[in-house]
């Protein structure tokens, strides 16, 4: 085993009373991928931000090749050879691809001016290494989510970093893109870099990591070689208690059709989508990122307008001019981006929960805080929300707990049809199981669920039937019993 390049010893960090990290400890070795796992809010991203100089730790020691260092800024981190792909997308939409790649250190001419030509050449070279033929002069805004991700990886590679940190790099990627990413990680490892890989997906971790570290409630609770442990053991370490089955699909009584789509079209985003969603059913929608699933969901929900096609709710033709009508009709939509579309971060939890159905908590327009809190409290308990109080602002919660608040908001609207867009994106196993159990409970109560997911195991595990979309068209409807991962991926990718 080689020497550790980077060592963390009892690093602590708190935010206005929230102890994000109480005992952060970690060892990274050259030529190794270390997986960092832990529930939502365990302090993983906080650790990343400390290592990259975004936050200053309150206490503890960081050693680089044995020498204690204090990382003072992102630029300093880079000069120390530490680079990171952060959990949030950190791209500049109004700059070009090349400038995004070299944002931290633009190549210069002898006179000190930014050397645009050299920047483009070097970008092209790095992108080529990543097997991409993106034009470096394209404005970033025109890129797809996956392409943006690629640029971020290229940025990490543009500096000769010895330590590469990836904070949930696969959360927004499709199956195929994940494979590509893992190949890159392997290559980085082969070049002798130390890699910290944060993910909630065990398949990936098992495929790529050499060692692991587990965080729970801000403290390191275990570390070791991946080969010497098991998934169950890791999960037990993460949650501090045994977890049941991850996809507890329970059979619910399937009833009559609730929502029927006939030839839904909104060009150029999607075209001619048909499906029938029945009471008590979970209909999974699988596809690559950018295949138009979210656009379709948003059009159903009235955020955007359908170009053509019919939507039947309980047999009645409906068309929603805005989300308010959809909500009234009994449709709920948990959007894919919880930070910008889901939660109102600066409002308290209970106000978030009641937001989509405020009228229900009001008499003659006057709100009843008691009523609001009662509903919020029940849902929070049901969702196993981790929060100090219902009056806490949502921004103070970890990503996973924010997502729970958003789901709670939609359950509070008393829907007939629930559309979930990437419901467990970036959620830890414990919460994930909770969400999945919840889905089971909901369909048993007669709800119909339309579940958009890029995570194949989730779709396979939870859905009764699976609709696969590719480039805005539906390319197949699979029954749970007959579907295999291979057939679905083939349909989605045209491989």
């Amino acid at each position: 085993m080689t020497e550790a390049i980077l060592t963390l010893e009892s690093v602590t960090k708190s935010f206005a009373g929230v102890h994000a990290l109480t005992h952060g400890a970690l060892e990274l070795r050259a030529g190794e991928v270390t997986a960092l796992i832990g529930e939502n809010g365990a302090g993983k991203s906080t650790l990343v931000k400390i290592l990259t100089g975004v936050y200053r730790p309150d206490g503890g020691t960081i050693r680089l090749r044995g020498q204690p260092v204090a990382v003072t800024s992102a630029a300093h981190a880079r000069s120390l050879g530490i680079t990171a792909i952060h959990q949030e997308a950190v791209v500049f939409d109004d700059l070009t691809v090349a400038e995004n790649i070299f944002i931290e250190d633009r190549p210069r001419t002898r006179l000190g001016a930014v050397d645009w030509a050299l920047m483009a050449t070097r970008s092209r070279a790095i992108l080529k290494e990543l097997e991409s033929d993106l034009d470096p002069t394209t404005p970033m805004r025109q890129l797809s989510v996956a392409q943006k991700h690629l640029v971020q990886i290229a940025r990490a590679l543009s500096v000769d970093a010895r330590v590469v940190i990836m904070d949930e790099p696969t959360a927004a990627l499709s199956h195929r893109e994940i494979e590509d990413l893992l190949a890159i990680v392997r290559r980085l490892r082969a070049e002798g870099r130390a890699i910290l890989f944060i993910s909630h997906k065990f398949d990936e971790i098992e495929a790529i990591a050499d060692s692991y570290a587990v965080f729970r409630d801000g403290a390191a609770v275990g570390a070791g070689r991946l080969a010497q442990t098991s998934r169950d053991e890791l999960v037990a370490l993460m949650v501090g208690r045994p977890v049941g089955q991850v996809f507890p699909k329970t059979e619910a009584k399937i009833g009559p059709p609730v929502l029927e789509a006939q030839g839904l079209t909104r060009l150029p985003e999607f075209e001619g989508i048909d499906f029938t969603l029945r009471r008590g059913e979970i209909l999974g929608i699988y596809g690559l990122v950018g295949s138009g699933r979210s656009e379709m969901a948003r059009a159903i929900f009235g955020v955007s307008q359908l170009g053509a096609g019919h939507l039947l709710l309980d047999g009645q033709a409906v068309r929603f001019a805005h989300p308010g009508q959809a909500i009234k009709a009994g449709i709920a939509y948990v959007p894919e981006d919880r930070q910008s579309q889901g939660a109102v971060l600066t409002l308290p939890i209970f106000q978030n929960v009641t937001l989509a159905r405020l009228g229900h908590y009001a008499k003659a327009g006057f709100l009843s805080g008691r009523k609001e809190r009662k509903t919020a409290s029940i849902l929070a308990q049901a969702m196993q929300l981790k929060a100090a109080s219902l009056d806490q602002n949502v921004e103070e919660l970890s990503g996973g707990n924010q997502q729970k608040v958003v789901i709670a908001k939609w359950l509070a609207t008393d829907p007939k049809v629930l559309i979930l867009d990437e419901p467990t994106k970036g959620i830890d196993v414990g919460s994930k199981a909770a969400v999945h159990r919840f889905m089971g409970a909901l369909v048993r109560q007669g709800l119909a669920i339309l579940m958009i997911s890029s995570e194949l195991p989730e779709v396979m595990g939870m859905a009764d039937r699976i609709l696969v979309m590719r480039r805005g068209r539906s390319v197949g409807l699979f029954e749970r019993a007959t579907a295999t991962p291979e057939t679905i991926i083939r349909a989605a990718t045209d491989a």
Binding site: F301, V303, H322, P323, G324, A326, I327, K328, Y333, S340, Q341, G342, A343, V344, L345, T346, L347, F350, Q351, L355, A356, R357, L358, G359, A362, G365, F366, L367, G369, R373, T375, A376, S377, I378, L379, A380, Q381, A382, Q384, L385, K386, A387, S389, L390, D391, Q392, K409, L411, D414, P415, K416, A434, R437, F438, A441, L442, R444, Q445, G446, L447
Partner: protein
């Protein structure tokens, strides 16, 4: 079928308790403002022997009531992440509309209705620019600011409109009871209504949600654009109403009426603790800030301090009242940190 949340909760086995202790938000800003208001009051009484006089105190209110009436919907607008810089221009145009109505021989109700209506229409145009044409509010209303006042100039030129019926004087010069002006009573009533709407009703909560996260608000079924439109219209209407009061107080209309008021109105709103970033603010704060502006300007006026020097004080107050708490917090944090 209705979803039973209780049943759901039982179904999924709850194992973590989330307590719902009411964390009463300490209204720091309002307390701070109140303190400054009281201090200014004390300072005024100490510095000028004429201050503590019922007539003075009554006259003092005229320094802020009209601006404050516009500051109320402006607060709602800014809380919803928008802003209206054209309010003073609207006042000018509304005043011209009233003057022309009066000149045409219509009676009091028609004149007042015309003023408010003109304000509503201007506000609606602002709202349309922002919601239909997607022009950022600050930009759109910089444009309409000179448009509205420009129209007032174009229509009126060098003329003056003053054919107002005698009763019209009541709005800006009348007293509701003894020395309490009609303007003050109207402002307080409107403040009460705005406060209740903002802090206790569905509409208010939605405005706050829109200002905090417009996209999430939209996804939650709130008609974001519609709210924005009506808030602009409301602000225009309030500007029209303020124009009724001001025109009545001046007894005449000229196109230069209320020139430069937009900055005073926005200053009152911000001083009142309304966050320019949206999503935060209280009506109590706005009322206190209006009172503070009145006290400061009148108090300095009593000492015959030139108005332009007053503006140093008001500008300094705006920065100081916002900066000092931040500074203290930073210093405390720094001391704790080392």
């Amino acid at each position: 079928m209705s979803l039973s949340i209780e049943q759901l909760a039982a179904d999924v086995r709850a194992d973590r308790e989330v307590h719902s202790a009411r964390k009463r938000p300490f209204m720091r800003w309002e307390w701070l403002l109140l303190l400054v208001v009281l201090a200014t009051f004390g300072l005024n009484s100490w510095a000028s022997p004429y201050f503590l006089d019922p007539y003075t105190l009554s006259d003092l209110t005229y320094n802020f009531t009209e601006k404050a009436i516009v500051a109320l919907p402006m607060a709602l607008l800014i809380i919803a992440r928008e802003i209206d810089i054209s309010v003073a221009g609207i006042m000018a145009l509304a005043s011209v509309a009233m003057g022309m109505t009066a000149a045409a021989g219509y009676g009091l109700p028609a004149i007042v209705a015309m003023g408010v209506l003109a304000g509503l229409l201007c506000g609606a145009l602002n709202g349309a620019l922002v919601t239909l044409f997607k022009v950022p509010a600050i930009v759109a209303t910089i444009g309409t600011m000179s448009l509205y006042r420009g129209i007032a100039y174009a229509v009126l030129g060098d003329k003056v409109l003053k054919a107002y019926p005698p009763d019209f004087a009541y709005f800006g010069q009348g007293y509701a009871f003894s020395l309490v002006s009609f303007e003050l009573v109207l402002f307080l009533a409107l403040a009460l209504v705005s406060g209740i709407v903002l802090h206790f009703t569905v509409v208010g909560r939605r405005i706050v949600a829109i200002g905090s996260n417009p996209t999430a608000a939209l996804f939650s079924g709130i008609r974001v654009e519609r709210y924005r439109f009506w808030l602009f219209t409301l602000t225009g209407g309030a500007a029209g109403l303020a124009s009724v009061l001001l025109t009545s107080r001046l007894g005449s209309t000229r196109p230069s009426i209320a020139v430069g008021w937009e900055l005073d109105i926005i200053t009152i709103t911000i001083l009142g603790g309304v966050s320019i970033l949206g999503g935060k603010g209280s009506i109590v704060g706005v009322v206190l800030a209006a009172l503070l502006m009145g006290l400061v300007t009148f108090g300095l006026g009593l000492l015959n301090v030139p108005g332009i020097v007053m503006s140093i004080v008001v500008g300094g107050l705006l920065i100081g009242v916002i900066a000092l708490p931040i500074l203290f917090r930073q210093m405390r944090a720094a001391r704790r940190g080392t």
